[in-house]
Symmetry: C2
Subunit: 389 residues, 2 copies
């Protein structure tokens, strides 16, 4: 595999690394299609040590990307895990190299429906194959191989990132020392599939979606994507967080308007979430990535026996959930812990008290950061990595 | 007020009663506009006794209507409260007359955005004034006056119906003997406003909505309305109910399709909910009625002191909630009970154990039906109504 300019460079000039993977051997996707060569965009923070034993792979959630700990090149906002990744932080970039790649199917430089299909010279659109969490992880494995890393010190991530952290542990048990799935699940629930389906239907209902062919036709299904984002966003927060943040406060007005403007702050906030999301995210990517999450079902791949997925594993696990997370509730995380226990794996489980909902893993939650730092420090010691500088 | 054919008869020939209210005196809406004359469609079950003391007013929820206990004239499905309304049932039509009117802003024969604006001869569309729960109840009061009923024996309803049952108790305390708000709240929460806003944005994002003028332009924003319904529908169920009903079961297939068809039963079910809803509901009505719910805030009308809303009331209350209802959770219902207690009102409170979510009040829940029957029987005795036949 060689590092060269991608066959389909993203429209924006993204900072960071891009590599072409899948040549000469393509990536065999779960759907049966062989994909490759294809570009993968990734970012690193901190230095790899001499024996390449200090790499932490961070796996991002549905709408996030590889810009973990730096200002985002499009939005200008701080990195999404700035809170815990950086010098002296829980994922200490003075000691570890943190790597994060845009997922397969994404829209920030890795191959996905908005990139060019080399066979046609046009954007993939719905011709892009439906991918799975397993496919995402296999692509990451190709990247890790390309970087010459034999064993990752740790794989971690929240939400869909947790699914990847679990998939890594199941598929490549010898190649990851520790796994920290945060606010995740071993399979996507019916309610979560339902919310995703609403988002997809909102996108597909937008006439500008054009059966997924909008890029070639020069339009963008912004309205549908914004509605999908709004529906999703509610599920990332808790009722308590919404109440504290907005309650029934009015937006820039003294009284009710008796109309359909955004009278309430919560409406204005949601509309803003929808409008800004479309500037940085591709509608088809939203379809593909939500689908990958829906398809995630680790127990099903082991005849309903999740403990079998972890048989004989030597990976150290730390499963973290948040009390007010109703999208990936503690019960789903605990199911993972029970399976790990049944497989006699080395596992810690922490339910962090928080009223911030599913998004708590992205927010300033000192207890969470402490748990993360403590587990990583302990693993580093067992792994013979240098003590904290 | 006279009973005559409505100035704007609904397109479908609906069975049941329709009356024109608001003449000579119009209805003064909360927004300041005077509305009238206007049609109200209603249905009755059972006979009014000689002194008209046995009337139970049932208030319907967001997407329901006056067809409480008979097959629906459009969908052919059983009445939405067939389970508890009928001879020998909790709301025993052998003893009581059950009355239910389509709400103001609705689309089943009562004036709303799809009816004809007499001033223009065209459908109201967005020229229809924004209405409130208070306005709905004032219109019902006009109907009750028209029927010559001085005091309702009972006002009850679930969800938005509970809001109306509370509003009745607050505005016309001497004119209702009992109030049974079920799965309701004294004010709409930020999370619920947020879900409604997603639904409204989905409708408004549909190009066939045409700024609300779709009826005149001969189109219907079916796609947007279907998405709104899907988003709403998830909130009516519990995670447990969705899991039990569908889990991750596939729809008419052996394996995953690796596409965007409805692979999962839950997707197929939601799509069906969306598609059938548009056959019986008007998109603009959805905007108006959700808005009325968002605006509902009883405490705010009493300087944040909800007990003051119930000062000196002689109405008997029975507040009912369901354990798995996360849309109108027990905590919101309990807030009403606390206010009633603080006002020294006569109040019972029952939290019914159910895993069916918000929709539990529409479903076969024997404990719920028993609570309802027990409270009504007790009230009937105190009210000097004939014992059960």
């Amino acid at each position: 595999m060689s590092v060269r300019h991608a066959p389909s460079a993203p429209a924006t000039n993204l900072p960071g690394h891009q590599v072409v993977l899948g040549e000469p051997e393509p990536l065999r996707l779960d759907c049966g299609i062989a994909l490759g060569p294809f570009p993968v965009a990734y970012q690193t923070y901190g230095e790899l040590n001499a024996d390449k034993s200090n790499a932490i792979l961070v796996c991002h959630a549905l709408t996030l990307d590889q810009f973990v700990a730096e200002d985002h090149p499009i939005t200008g906002k701080p990195g999404w895990w700035d809170m815990v990744v950086g010098p002296g932080k829980a994922l200490d970039t003075d000691r570890f190299q943190v790597i994060c790649a845009n997922v397969l199917g994404g829209c920030m430089g890795t191959v996905g429906p908005k990139e060019i299909n080399p066979e046609t010279g046009e954007p993939w659109g719905l011709d892009f194959p439906v991918i799975t969490i397993g496919d995402m992880v296999r692509a990451q494995k190709m990247l890790v191989d390309h970087l010459g890393i034999e064993q990752l010190f740790c794989v971690t991530g929240g939400s869909m990132g947790a699914m990847q952290a679990l998939e890594w542990a199941v598929r490549y048990p010898g190649q990851i020392f520790a796994s920290i799935p945060i606010a995740g699940a071993a399979r996507h629930t019916a309610q979560n599939i339902a919310f995703h389906e609403v988002g997809r239907q909102a996108i597909m209902a937008d006439p500008d979606w054009r059966g997924g062919d909008y890029m070639r036709q020069g339009v963008i299904p912004n309205r549908g994507l914004a509605v999908a984002r709004m529906a999703g966003h509610i599920t990332y927060l808790s009722e308590v967080a919404l109440h504290r943040k907005f309650g029934r406060n009015l937006q820039d007005r003294e009284g009710l308007s008796y109309g359909f403007d955004a009278d309430f702050q919560v409406e204005s906030y949601l509309r803003h979430q929808g409008m800004t999301f479309v500037e940085r995210f591709d509608a088809n990517s939203y379809l593909y990535i939500t689908r990958a999450m829906d398809y995630f079902d680790l127990p099903a791949e082991f005849d309903g026996q999740l403990p079998r997925a972890f048989e004989g594993t030597e990976t150290r696990f730390c499963v973290i959930s948040f009390t007010s997370d109703w999208l990936f509730p503690t019960s789903e995380n605990r199911a993972v812990v029970h399976a790990l226990n049944a497989a006699a794996a080395n596992v810690s489980f922490v339910e962090v008290e928080s009223d911030k909902g599913h998004d708590a893993f992205l927010l300033d939650e000192p207890e969470f950061a402490k748990v993360l730092a403590g587990f990583i420090d302990g693993c580093a010691e067992h792994h013979g990595l240098n003590a904290k500088r």
